[in-house]
């Protein structure tokens, strides 16, 4: 997979993101069998509808450099708040189509409370603080910027 930028835990990619393959690869490379009991993951996938309209495509823009730094900051904060073995965030940028995975967040921990809570927190932090922007293409070929992410804790 072509990677616009990579650290161990943060990847911003321009080509198709296969979350299950990413998880299998990351786990076999960076986790030690027996040391973690809980893996919580979230995958965000492009829908073909939004705000009541049909959406036929989307372009994801980011701020190269700041995006990766901000994601790493978010991960560092989560690592301080919860006992996590590993964290992985992969985010797609560029043109995408409905059904394409956009984002993967995964947390490995000894116990499930930490994995669940950190995974959800990371996803909310990413949606509110990481510099990515979505421009949708509607059925009539018009374009619109998505204006604001909703709060996923009170949806």
């Amino acid at each position: 997979m072509a990677s616009a930028h990579s650290t161990r835990s943060v990847k911003v990619v321009t080509e198709a993101l296969d979350p299950w393959q990413e998880l299998a690869a990351y786990q076999s490379q960076h986790l030690t069998a027996g040391k973690f009991g809980a893996t919580a993951t979230f995958v965000g996938t492009m829908r073909d509808f939004n705000e009541g309209d049909d959406v036929t495509g989307m372009t994801l823009e980011h701020y190269p450099g700041m995006t990766e730094a901000q994601l790493q900051r978010i991960i560092d904060e989560a690592q301080e708040q919860w006992p996590l073995e590993e964290v992985l965030i992969v985010h797609r940028v560029g043109p995408i189509l409905p059904g394409d995975p956009i984002v993967l967040v995964a947390c490995w921990s000894a116990h499930r409370a930490a994995a669940f809570e950190a995974c959800r927190h990371l996803m909310e932090a990413l949606k509110s603080r990481a510099p990515f922007w979505k421009k949708e293409t509607l059925a009539d070929q018009s374009h619109r910027w998505v204006e604001k992410n909703t709060d996923g804790y009170h949806a």
């Binding site: 949606k127 922007w133 979505k134 910027w145």
Partner: protein, 77 residues
């Protein structure tokens, strides 16, 4: 030396500006940088600013060599 200014997403379209260098003369804050690149165009209420890739507000000081960015609320994930 100069200041590098970057705009993203709808802000890039609003200012018709992706990336540009401006001189430091008369520039001491993020708000000054805005005026230098936006002229009379008001800064939209929900605008986010970053200095050297960390979030900052309009009153934040800038120096020669800094990278200043303007963008709308983020919508990734």
């Amino acid at each position: 030396m100069a200041i590098k200014v970057k705009c993203f997403a709808s802000m890039r379209e609003y200012l018709d500006l992706s990336e540009r260098e401006i001189g430091i003369d008369g520039i001491s804050t993020v708000a000054d940088v805005w005026r230098a690149v936006a002229g009379d165009k008001p800064m939209p209420d929900n605008t986010l600013c970053a200095v050297n890739q960390s979030q900052a507000n309009a009153a934040f000081s800038v120096s020669s060599g800094d990278e200043v960015a303007f963008f709308p609320p983020v919508t990734g994930g």
